[in-house]
Symmetry: C2
Subunit: 334 residues, 2 copies
C-alpha cells in the first residue's frame, strides 16, 4: 500500500487549484491531510474534497513543515514568496506559475526520467499549458522527425488568465448582444468577438513572458536546449481550451504514416483523422488528452510537418499534469 502524504494546495480557490483538488480525488491520490490555502479574501470559505468540506486558510500563516508536498497554483508573486520557504521546510514543491527559475520543468509523457535525477525535496515546475500540449504531442515524434525549427501560433483561451478573465468575456459578450456600451475592465479593450495579438506586455525584443516561458520550457522538456522555437501567443474569445497551429521544419522528408502511427500509440494523444478536426469546445474541454489533427506536410514541402493541437488548458495543461508529476514523484520520495 502507498503511504499517504500530507499535502498543501496554494491557490485552492482558483481556476487551476479547484480542478487540481478535484483531480486528486478522481485519481485517488494518496492524501493523508489536505491543506487548502489562498489569500486573506478566501480564507474561511470551503471546498469539497472526498465528500468533506475543507476550510480554506490563509497561506501567510501556514507552517509548511506540516506537509511533504505543496502545489502552488497561484500568482508568480505568491510562488516567489512562499515556495522557497516551503522547500526549505523540507517540502517537495510543484509550482504552476513558472516563477521559480531553479525549478525543473516536467511533463511525464516527455521527460519522466528527470524526476529520478533531482535532489530531494524536489523543486518542480508544471509547465505552461502550451509547453505541456506541445511536449505531449512532440515527444513521440522526436525519433521520427529531425526537428530543425518549431513554429507555433498559440490561441489561448481567456481561462488561461484565471477567473476574472472568464467573467469578463461573458460580461462583454452580454453587453454587446444587448447593445449596451462596452466597458472593458480586465482586458484593456474589447475581447468579445475580437483577437488580442499579445498576452501580457512585451519585453525590449517584443516577446511576451508567456512566449518566453513556452520556449524555455519546451526546450527543457524535449531535451533540446538550442532548438529554434518561434512562437506567437494570442488571446482568443474562447472560455476554455488552448489551441496550437504547429509547423515542424525537418532536415529530411517527413514520413506521415509513421507520424500517424506514433501519435496513435501515445496514451495521452487523441488523433483526429483528416475528414474531421478537433476543437476546444466539443473535444478537448474536460478531457485528459491532447487532441491532434490536421496532420499534413507543408504545401509543396515534404520536409515540413503541420499539426493542429487543442487541449483543456486548465485540466491537461495545468492541474492534471501537476498531479501526474506528483504521482511519479512520490515513488522517488523517501
Amino acid at each position: 500500500m502507498t503511504t499517504k502524504l500530507d499535502i498543501a494546495v496554494v491557490g485552492a480557490t482558483g481556476t487551476v487549484g479547484e480542478t487540481l483538488v478535484q483531480i486528486l480525488e478522481e485519481l485517488a491520490f494518496p492524501v493523508a491531510t489536505l491543506h487548502l490555502l489562498a489569500s486573506m479574501e478566501s480564507a474561511g470559505s470551503s471546498v469539497m474534497f472526498a465528500s468533506k468540506k475543507l476550510k480554506v486558510r490563509e497561506v501567510d500563516s501556514f507552517d509548511f513543515s506540516q506537509v511533504k508536498l505543496a502545489f502552488f497554483a497561484t500568482t508568480p508573486a505568491v510562488s516567489r514568496s512562499f515556495a522557497a520557504k516551503a522547500h526549505k521546510a523540507g517540502c517537495a514543491v510543484i509550482d504552476l506559475s513558472g516563477a521559480l527559475h531553479d525549478a525543473v520543468a516536467v511533463v511525464p509523457e516527455a521527460n519522466p526520467e528527470r524526476l529520478g535525477q533531482l535532489p530531494q525535496p524536489a523543486l518542480i515546475t508544471s509547465p505552461s499549458a502550451g509547453a505541456v500540449a506541445l511536449a505531449v504531442a512532440l515527444a513521440p515524434l522526436k525519433g521520427l522527425v529531425d526537428i530543425e525549427r518549431i513554429q507555433v501560433n498559440a490561441c489561448l483561451a481567456v481561462s488561461a488568465q484565471g477567473r476574472e478573465a472568464v467573467s469578463e468575456l461573458a460580461r462583454q459578450t452580454a453587453e454587446l448582444l444587448n447593445a449596451r456600451p462596452l466597458e472593458p475592465r480586465f482586458f484593456d479593450r474589447q475581447m468579445a468577438f475580437n483577437l488580442l495579438a499579445q498576452v501580457g506586455a512585451p519585453d525590449e525584443q517584443g516577446h511576451t513572458a508567456v512566449e518566453r516561458r513556452l520556449v524555455g520550457e519546451l526546450r527543457q522538456l524535449l531535451g533540446m536546449p538550442a532548438l529554434k522555437i518561434s512562437v506567437t501567443c494570442i488571446q482568443v474569445p474562447v472560455f476554455f481550451g488552448d489551441s496550437f497551429s504547429v509547423a515542424l521544419q525537418s532536415r529530411r522528408a517527413v514520413d506521415l504514416d509513421a507520424v500517424n502511427r506514433a501519435l496513435d500509440s501515445a496514451d495521452s494523444i487523441e488523433r483526429v483523422e483528416a475528414d474531421d478536426y478537433p476543437t476546444p469546445v466539443g473535444d478537448a474541454v474536460g478531457q485528459d488528452v491532447v487532441y491532434v489533427g490536421r496532420v499534413r506536410h507543408g504545401i509543396d514541402e515534404d520536409e515540413q510537418l503541420n499539426l493542429w493541437l487543442t487541449t483543456d488548458n486548465v485540466r491537461k495543461g495545468a492541474a492534471l499534469n501537476a498531479v501526474q508529476v506528483a504521482q511519479l514523484l512520490i515513488k522517488h520520495m523517501a
Copy 2:
C-alpha cells in the same frame, strides 16, 4: 475628365458586393450606368447608389455587352458560369471568387505593373483577403528581407464566409448566453466561443482550398512562383476583420529599423508600435489599410521576422482592392 463607364456588379446584395457599391460611390468612380445583379431571390430588391435606389436584376438574363467592366462578388459557381460569357462579350472582368484559373491576381500595392501587360479586355482576380493583406504588408519588404520561407497562421472572421455565417455566429452566441440548446446550422458545430481548425474541406494532402488559394495568389503577387509558403487558415468567432500571424525566414539577419521605416513609408499600411498592437475590432474594421504590429525578430533568431497583420476582410481585403484595381485598369482601357 475621365470617361464614364457602364458597369455591372454581380453579387450586389452580398457582403462584399454591397460594400463594393458603396466604395464606388465613396471614391467617385466614373460610373455611367450601374447594373446590380444577383440571383432570382434578390431580383426586384433595391440598393442605394449615389442617392438613387437602383433595382437589383437577375444575372441569368443580363446582357453583358451593355457594360465595359463587371465585378463578380459572388460564388465561384456563378463566376464560372457568367464571367467567361461577360469576357467574351467584350467586358473587363474583376472576379473576387478565385474561380477563374486564367485570371491574373492583382493588388495595386504589390504588382500594379501586371495591369499594363494584360490583353484587353482584362481578366483579373482580386485575391482572397489573406493574399491582399500579406501582399500589401510584404511588398515593401521584398528588397530588405531575403525571404526563404513564409509561415502564416490566418484567423479568419466569419464574414469571410458571407452573410449567413455572420448571422449564425450571432444566433449561436445568443443561444448560449440564454442557456438554450445549441443547434448549429451554417457551421457543422459550435462556432461561438470556439475555434474551427479548418475552413472548408481539405484535399487529399490535407490542405483546404482557401489555403491553396492564398499560397497561389501570394506567389503571383510577390512575383516569386517557387516561394515556400506554409499556411493554416482557421475560423475564429470574430464577425469582421481577418488577422495573420506571420513569420518570414530570411537568408540573413533582418534589420528591424529598416523594416519599420519601410512599413511606415507605405501608404496602405498602418504600423503599430511595440507598446500597443492592432486588433480587428477597434482598429482594422472599416479602415482602408492593413494594420501591422508586433514587428520583431524570432526568439534567439535574427534571421526571422515576425509580424501580426489585421485588416477588414470585406473592405480592404475584397471590395476596396477590387475598386482600386479598377481605378488603375481604366487608365489602360481604350
